[in-house]
């Protein structure tokens, strides 16, 4: 086993690593055998052949032909890196860094003002520590390393608090997004209502005009196009010309709308 591992590690350093060992399992024979097994399994369980992902109790030599089982715990390895289902922020303590601020409990009612205050304090400390580092380098360079370490701790703490804030910001962004959606929906509704109202008014206007037009309809061709303007200027009080006037206005507004 140990020899195996050594062999493997030497392979990694080669320019092109060997293909993974299971490529040999994909022979035409194995593939057809696997397909028939899959079909059989699907028929037995009344499944569609495509929806049957894994066949239980498969012969050893065919095991590579099907995807690996789902991880039973919420942990798995990907490219030999351990992965977990829920990503948790590594705490400062486990990373071996001194925590400078108070421990922020994940309290649901906790406001984030304190966190911002903490960040500001850290930012100021950064500047001050840099000044101290400069002073130290002036007088006693051997102690400089400690100050650099302090600066490092400050920076790491800063980044940690910042990353703790990320879920909060994500929620905040969601709220913003929903608010925008709501606004645009309301604006759309208002715009539609506006147009509908306008159209309704136009219809009502048309309705009030159309009733009188039924009476002078026969006169219209006799009058011709020149007649209404001639009457317009002379007499507005008379019933007939007044209607004509209104009708011409109605028609022109209709024309404008249609164009």
């Amino acid at each position: 086993m140990a020899a195996n591992i050594e062999e493997d590690s030497s392979k990694v350093t080669a320019l092109y690593p060997d293909p993974p060992p299971f490529w040999k399992a994909f022979t035409a024979e194995n593939l057809s055998q696997f397909d028939s097994l899959k079909q059989e399994y699907a028929d037995q369980n009344g499944l569609d052949a495509d929806s049957a992902v894994r066949i239980p109790d498969i012969p050893e030599n065919l095991n590579y032909l099907q995807p690996p089982p789902e991880p039973t715990e919420s942990k798995w390895r990907l490219f030999s890196e351990p992965q977990t289902l829920d990503e948790e922020l590594q705490s400062l303590e486990t990373a071996g860094i001194q925590r400078l601020g108070p421990l922020n409990e994940t309290d649901k009612d906790g406001k984030h003002i304190d966190r911002a205050f903490e960040l500001k304090r850290l930012a100021k400390s950064l500047l001050l520590n840099f000044l101290e580092l400069m002073g130290l380098m002036n007088h006693n360079p051997t102690h400089g390393l400690e100050k650099v370490q302090d600066l490092k701790t400050l920076l790491l703490n800063f980044h940690h608090i910042l990353n703790e804030y990320r879920p909060h910001q994500a929620r905040e962004q969601l709220i913003q997004l929903m608010q925008d959606q709501l606004d645009s929906k309301r604006a759309e509704t208002a715009a539609i209502k506006n147009v509908v109202d306008k159209a309704k008014r136009a219809l009502e206007g048309l309705g009030s005009m159309e009733i009188p037009t039924a009476e002078p309809k026969e006169i219209k061709p006799a009058h011709g196009l020149t007649a209404p303007p001639a009457v317009n200027g002379t007499n507005d009080a008379g019933d007939g010309p007044y209607y004509w006037d209104r009708e011409s206005v109605g028609w022109s507004s209709l024309d404008a709308d249609l164009v």
Partner: protein, 137 residues
């Protein structure tokens, strides 16, 4: 341009870079001093690389001043970014409540919108009929 947090993170990283730049500047351009009667500035041969490139005192001072000012500006930028982080006043519970409320409001707004669209279609139909009627006259 990223979100506020990313901006803040980048600003802090820049601040750290500026620290290093300042350090390098001072380390590189300072003048050589004698601390005691026994000290002496070593004579360097022509081909030997120089340890320091000493600047004229006023140029050195001016450079330091500029770097220090940049540091302060960057730090203020960091603080400004901190105070403009989104939702500082909201706790997690507030946020959840807000999201729920917004969800409800969105549903109401959607039904209102559909209602308006329906009404619009109706009016459109009516208007269409009226126009057809007029054309026949």
């Amino acid at each position: 341009m990223g979100d506020r947090l990313t901006q803040l993170q980048e600003a802090v990283d820049q601040l750290a870079n500026q620290f290093i730049a300042c350090f390098y500047y001072i380390e590189r351009h300072h003048d050589l001093e004698l601390f005691g009667p026994n000290d002496k500035v070593p004579d360097l041969k022509q081909d030997q690389p120089k340890e320091v490139e000493t600047l004229a005192p006023d140029a050195f001072q001016a450079g330091q001043l500029e770097l220090a000012r940049d540091l302060i500006v960057k730090e203020q930028q960091v603080e400004y970014l901190i105070s403009s982080l989104p939702g500082l006043d909201n706790s997690e519970r507030d946020q959840e409540q807000l999201i729920k409320d917004l969800e409800e409001e969105l549903k109401v707004a959607e039904t209102q919108r559909l209602e308006a669209v329906r009404e619009k279609d109706e009016v459109l139909l009516k208007l269409d009929q009226v126009l057809r009627g007029i054309r026949r006259h």
